[in-house]
């Protein structure tokens, strides 16, 4: 499946942004997303941001891992 990695937005100029992952920086296109701000995390695939990463959902998922099954998952 398509290789996409979470990167941090460090500066924005119209439809492009500079992003960083562990200090490696790249200029990417924001043509596919909206309402992106500096400090947001986006999913980077072939030079484009695909989506914003939801911090709250990420925290929720990590919490699920940490609880390792003690929480019953309801749909």
């Amino acid at each position: 499946m398509c290789l996409a990695i979470p990167v941090e937005v460090i500066s924005i100029e119209e439809d492009t942004a500079w992003v960083s992952v562990s200090g490696v920086k790249k200029e990417i296109s924001l043509a596919l997303v909206e309402d992106v701000s500096v400090g947001d995390y986006v999913l980077l695939h072939v030079g484009y941001a695909l989506n914003k990463i939801s911090t709250e959902e990420a925290q929720k998922t990590l919490k699920l891992f940490a609880e390792a099954g003690m929480l019953e998952i309801d749909s």
Partner: protein
């Protein structure tokens, strides 16, 4: 790396593995198809297989756009570069796939064709700007994740008046492939599916709902990291134990029910569905691929150039069709590891690093020889 390292934590892996072992009922065998090549890759690269109990099995799916692209299409791309003198821009994945006469784009490049590897469609646009007297064709492949970037490039080419840029479109659709798998004769023996991470970022989780319902199989949208895969396995097992054929979203940090509306609209504006498209290993599937709309015809390489390649028949002994459908495993193929290796791939499953056979070979072969 934020949002990456936390999802690879070893201790949590063990904890989730323990829960899976507890909750997987001993009198049941769970066959989970990971649709996406990326998941196959992650499973073998991290050794997730080792953390599963014996009665939980991964079945590899066809979600590898390089694997399912018919060889004839690669030949057509090669023709554009070799016979029509275009600069062919392609993602790295396609460079080594052997096409007709066992020649790859890399070998065509060695023979003098101007074939350039790019990371992004933006790079292809730049090459078009820098070479106004030459024709540039972008070899577009990929599922719904990779289609919007092609759409952006086409619209941008129009806005900039880049008349020397066109796209050879081979984008394919996940729901159609999913349907082909679930509809297969004989039926594929799987209990649940792990759905693609990044395709779902774009299309959302709702397109899978009808499949879960119609075929009675739970579908868990799984993130790309190994902990995501394990958590998704746990979720799938729980759904199976409760007999619930619904869609659940483990990758909620990047996937919503509706998906990326902006990207979907853009794709709809530039592309339309092809009536039929040949999938390597899966045959002709209707409404499974995209072509460029008449509105944007001037950017359609298939209209700008005449290309026709001979259909290439895959080798009889190659078990890729069955492997792509999850009916067989790489080890079931006589050619695996003998004639067919990553340096000399016979079929689609070995050509791409995402293919089941390639993943087995690169990471998992120790189980074979052991």
């Amino acid at each position: 790396m934020k949002y990456i390292d936390e999802f690879r934590d070893q201790q949590q892996a063990q904890a989730i593995a323990n829960i899976i072992a507890l909750e997987a009922k001993s009198d049941r065998h769970y066959r989970l198809m990971e649709f996406c090549g990326g998941h196959t890759h992650a499973i073998y690269r991290y050794g997730v297989q080792d953390l599963m109990p014996d009665n939980v099995e991964f079945v590899h799916g066809p979600g590898c756009p390089v694997c399912v692209l018919p060889v004839g299409r690669i030949d057509e791309a090669m023709q554009l570069a070799q016979e029509q003198g275009v600069i062919l821009c392609t993602y790295g994945d396609m460079m080594r796939v052997p096409a007709g006469n066992r020649r790859s784009l890399m070998q065509a490049k060695a023979d003098g064709a101007d074939i350039r590897m790019v990371y992004s469609t933006q790079d292809a646009l730049k090459i078009a700007r820098d070479n106004p007297n030459q024709q540039i064709v972008f070899f577009a492949i990929g599922f719904e994740t990779t289609t919007p970037p092609t759409g952006v490039a086409i619209k941008q080419a129009r806005a900039e008046g880049l008349t020397n840029f066109s796209v050879f479109c081979n984008h394919v659709l996940t729901p159609a492939a999913l349907g082909a798998i679930l509809n297969a004769e004989p039926p594929v023996d799987i209990d649940a599916l792990l759905g693609p991470s990044h395709v779902s970022t774009i299309i959302g989780s709702h397109p899978y709902e009808k499949f879960a319902q119609q075929y009675g199989k739970p579908i868990v949208i799984a993130g790309f990291e190994p902990l995501d895969v394990m958590q998704s396995v746990l979720m799938a097992i729980r759904l199976l134990n409760k007999d619930r054929s619904v869609v659940e979203n483990e990758y909620s940090r990047a996937v919503t029910r509706d998906g990326n509306i902006k990207a979907q609209a853009l794709v709809k504006e530039v592309f339309e569905i092809r009536e039929n498209f040949e999938w390597r290993g899966l045959g002709l599937i209707s409404n499974s691929a995209l072509k460029i709309r008449p509105d944007f015809a001037e950017f359609d390489a298939e209209k700008r150039f005449t290309v026709s390649a001979q259909p290439v028949v895959d080798i009889k002994a190659c078990e890729c069709p069955a492997i792509l459908r999850g009916q067989k495993k790489p080890l079931d193929c006589k050619l695996f590891g003998t004639v067919c290796t990553p340096e000399n791939p016979m079929g689609s499953c070995m050509v791409s690093s995402e293919g089941a056979c390639a993943a087995y070979w690169r990471y998992g072969r120790l189980r074979v020889v052991a």
